[in-house]
Symmetry: C2
Subunit: 199 residues, 2 copies
Amino acid sequence: MEPRPADIEGLIALMARLPGLGPRSARRAVLHLLRKRVQVMEPLARALQQVAETACECQVCGNIGTHDICNICADPRRATGEICVVEDLSDLWAMERAGGFKGRYHVLGGTLSALDAVGPEDLRIPQLVARIADEGVREVILALNVTVEGQTTAHYIAEALAPTGVGVSALAQGVPMGGELDYLDDGTISAAFAARRRL
Amino acid sequence: MEPRPADIEGLIALMARLPGLGPRSARRAVLHLLRKRVQVMEPLARALQQVAETACECQVCGNIGTHDICNICADPRRATGEICVVEDLSDLWAMERAGGFKGRYHVLGGTLSALDAVGPEDLRIPQLVARIADEGVREVILALNVTVEGQTTAHYIAEALAPTGVGVSALAQGVPMGGELDYLDDGTISAAFAARRRL
């Protein structure tokens, strides 16, 4: 007594696996697609097919794009002397949204983890070390998450880069914009206090 | 200085047009797709392509499926003597989720609207009238939304079916399951009062 054919049922199940969509909202989304076949479903199917076929990792930095060398690495306006190291594609996108950084990136693809057996080779750290000399890099900015794993990885990278003599910096830690002390965790307040600046 | 290639940007824009997804959650969904290319993006692309190619309206009832005659109309176990009239595909799915109805459907595709120039011909009402005799229908259940448009349409259909002599009923109106009077609108309480039943 299934009201929906298997194809449509399968599409709902796949949509429900996207973050932010549960079974109910996946059903609503598929209803919308079925109602707007020409205006929405067909363009979306084409776009998804296109990206699924062409998406690949940039061979230089690990960013995901549609060419062997990503938009950013291929852009002659991006400074070659600075590399911002991020854990993941989402962090690269977040840095670009914030703007301000005009250099290039290096996407690690995760953090070091003894538990999950993730070592430096799994994280493109050797490739990062190689880029320092190859591209004449002057500064590496570690934009890793402020988590135990992120900070362990930052330490490891800083040590791995020490022999190259490149400058290594990290994002400042402190009170976020709009942050109210009363709502902040103790760790953030302690870090902001320790890193206080003279005005 | 666009960090994302046009294809990926376009995919995010299309995803953001789905109900329940805004620009931010569309970005998150596409990130997820890019991270899980083989496990999620490729199956989803194939499923969407498949449904986009095969989805069509059932020639009998207007349900959307992947064949000329939908699953329900093609199912010999569904009673032919009863037709449940719904406004939209989503209402058909909701009726099927609720279970209990073992007949067939007729999807109007909207409601009558003088303002939007939607007349009976636009709503598959002539096809409904034709089905009464063709299929030997005994009862038509109007499961239209309890809105001004839905109820106007219900009235119109009841009159259009009067000459056929078929029995016409409508979903009961009253207090919903778990409904607390204090939170219900006046219209619902009035309707439930007017339709009160002797215990």
